[in-house]
Symmetry: none
Subunit: 401 residues, 2 copies
């Protein structure tokens, strides 16, 4: 698979501008009653009109048949081979709450959970307690001290938090404590390599102290830790592509992804409308913009077909607001499909369209899975999307004499 | 990407014959006034008729979005992964003028140029002086002697020449002297690796002596050197595919490409008509023929839509002359697109058709970008074209038991 560094000598800096709108969980599948997918069902006149003027296709996020998480799905669209580069869950979570990770730091995603008197899990999410309840508990855990390591606990949202371990010789090579089922106790962390023994000991000691500190709580009386991970050392996309990239995302995890890829993450509000306003405000100062639309994925994950249709319809009026900026290249893509009938991420190729002066209408009649499958871009690897973006913007020169 | 050596055990020698016509810069884009591409505009009844009887598709020369030079574009069609194999500019230029390169030789592309009294570049191409003027200057430079190296200077065309360095320890790992802009002096060659220090010194000494020898010239009073390169060590396609391949090309660079791929380059004339005559003359003696049509690319590079249409129309009557030979497989392909509206090589997938007894008409109505996009071959990597050629000629046996 192509990786962004392979054509390193061909990237050139130009004043042209690229906007990449990633609609999270964009693709879908037909509703059994109507035979039409979420995109085919939605009234999305602006996306449909843009498809008629664009080069259309489908992207394969990782490989045919492989459903990606948010990390690989986005890395691929930015041109990083997702089979070569991986961002661990803990690191992604930490970045998403603007918790700095230095080289060597290990972060884990934590859940508050409920255990019974025998220590067996009753609820892996502690009744989804709200942030208002979990934040003070995080403060309590944050005061735990273990010699030889600096420990920090920061709330994320509801029952979720991040644990960061900082110190000499801290390793990410330890197992998770979440058994992924109820009725059994939390697992001890185990070293996956000899040099991780001390980190496993630290983590188990932390969990023991947490259990004691939380023992009087009704719901959040224990914790689970997973996704121990260091920050991967990704080549910054700005350096490689010779871009000055801006990342605009209302949701923490996507700001984290943008950060780890070397984008300048721009402060924005909590809605997509805020993101579009931010795009307008900073448009002059950058030449590449990643802008992220989350709600379609959330509705798909909930298995709510009508809600996903509604979220796509809510996106549609923003398309003219972005096109107003007249970017040299405007791409609408998705990190993966989240078909409502599956209520999960899936492997299906994802609709893709690229608008530029070097493309023209090609007879595709709308923005959906079927129409995009007939477009001139064909079905490509998501890692190739950036090559198309750059070439249509004049930022990718001839390969070889 | 597939590379020709990957299926090495599946290639078999048979008497069947393959003709691969490479139309340089074949693909195009729609003229803004008509919405029709060069191929769609041209009156090409023979190519259209052949498309109706062929398996059609599109080829991606390197990767989506990547515009290739002539080297990678041709290597890919011959089955060499262009991201793995690269022919440097100097080596390609040397081969194109039948200047032998032995292993270890380094060749550079030279330009005569004009500098002002302060040594700053005024014209990087010395007013495009004609060969009649540059050839005697090359003879003058050819007499430069530097201990420890054999130096040869041979004119190419107009202001261009080749410098060949032969000797022990000569390295290609040195920087170019062409600053790619006017108003500044030529750059000194610098070693990119410690072992290239002596070569950089030789080249800088050569440039100094050239400057002195040319100091009285009005336009060509200095030189620029770029693309220092050795010949790559490509596996010969005849050996790998078990073919006896012939290369027929009126233009030097394409004879050079055929040579480096291990084809037998056949002496021919200066026009495509000469090439077709040569094809007829040597048809009995080989089983694979690469025949090259250049004029379409040149017109595209000039940004002359009508000229490109005319060049395609001039190719058309030769199609029956080739089909007369009744080859088992006759492919018409392009090394890359050269859309006149871009006046440059581009990344767009290139029309492709394969005629053989094992294919039949599939409803495609002509030979152009849109029709080929609907063909049964689909959009494939150009490196896969040879697999199709060989299989349809019975020269590629079953893979695996």
């Amino acid at each position: 698979m192509i990786d962004l560094e392979q054509l390193r000598d061909c990237y050139v800096s130009t004043p042209s501008k690229i906007v990449l709108l990633v609609v999270d969980g964009l693709g879908g599948l037909a509703h059994p009653d109507t035979g039409r997918s979420e995109l085919e069902t939605a009234h999305i006149p602006n996306l449909d009109a843009m498809a008629r003027e664009s080069a259309c296709g489908l992207t394969i996020p990782v490989l045919p048949g492989v459903a990606p998480g948010s990390g690989p799905g986005h890395l691929a669209l930015f041109g990083y081979d997702p089979l070569k580069h991986m961002i661990g869950r803990g690191a992604l979570e930490a970045l998403g709450i603007d918790m700095p990770l230095e080289p060597g730091d290990v972060a884990a995603r934590g859940n508050f959970c409920t255990v019974d008197a025998g220590g067996n899990l009753v609820d892996r999410r502690a009744g989804r307690i709200p942030t208002a309840l979990s934040a003070p508990l995080c403060e309590r855990l944050d005061r735990i001290e273990i010699p030889g390591v600096e420990l920090d606990v920061v709330p994320v949202q509801d029952y979720r938090f991040v644990l960061r371990l900082r110190g000499k010789g801290i390793s990410e090579a330890i197992t998770e404590t979440d058994p992924q089922q109820s009725g059994v106790p939390a697992l001890p962390a185990k070293a996956l390599r000899p040099e991780a023994e001390s980190t496993a000991g630290i983590v188990n000691s932390f969990v023991d102290q947490a259990r004691q500190l939380l023992s009087e709580e009704e719901r959040a009386n224990m914790i689970l830790l997973r996704g121990f991970a260091q920050l991967p050392d990704l080549p910054p996309m700005g350096d490689v592509y010779r871009l000055n990239p801006a990342g605009i995302a209302a949701y923490p995890m996507y700001r984290g992804l943008a950060t780890v890829c070397g984008m300048n993450v721009i402060h924005t509000g909590t809605t997509f409308g805020d993101e579009v306003k931010t795009l307008h405000q900073v448009y002059a100062g950058h030449d590449f913009f990643f802008i992220h639309y989350k709600p379609a994925d959330a509705a798909g994950e909930d298995g709510d077909f009508d809600a996903k249709v509604a979220r796509l319809e809510e996106l549609d009026p923003f398309i003219p607001q972005i096109r107003e900026l007249d970017p040299d290249v405007f791409i609408v893509a998705g990190d993966h499909a989240t078909p409502a009938i599956m209520a999960s991420h899936s492997w299906h190729p994802v609709p893709f369209m690229l608008h530029s002066k070097l493309t023209r209408g090609e007879g595709v009649d709308g923005f959906n899975e079927k129409s995009c499958g007939l477009g001139s871009v064909g079905t490509i690897q998501a890692t190739q999307a950036m090559l198309l973006a750059l070439s249509h913007a004049g930022k990718l020169t001839k390969y070889g004499p």
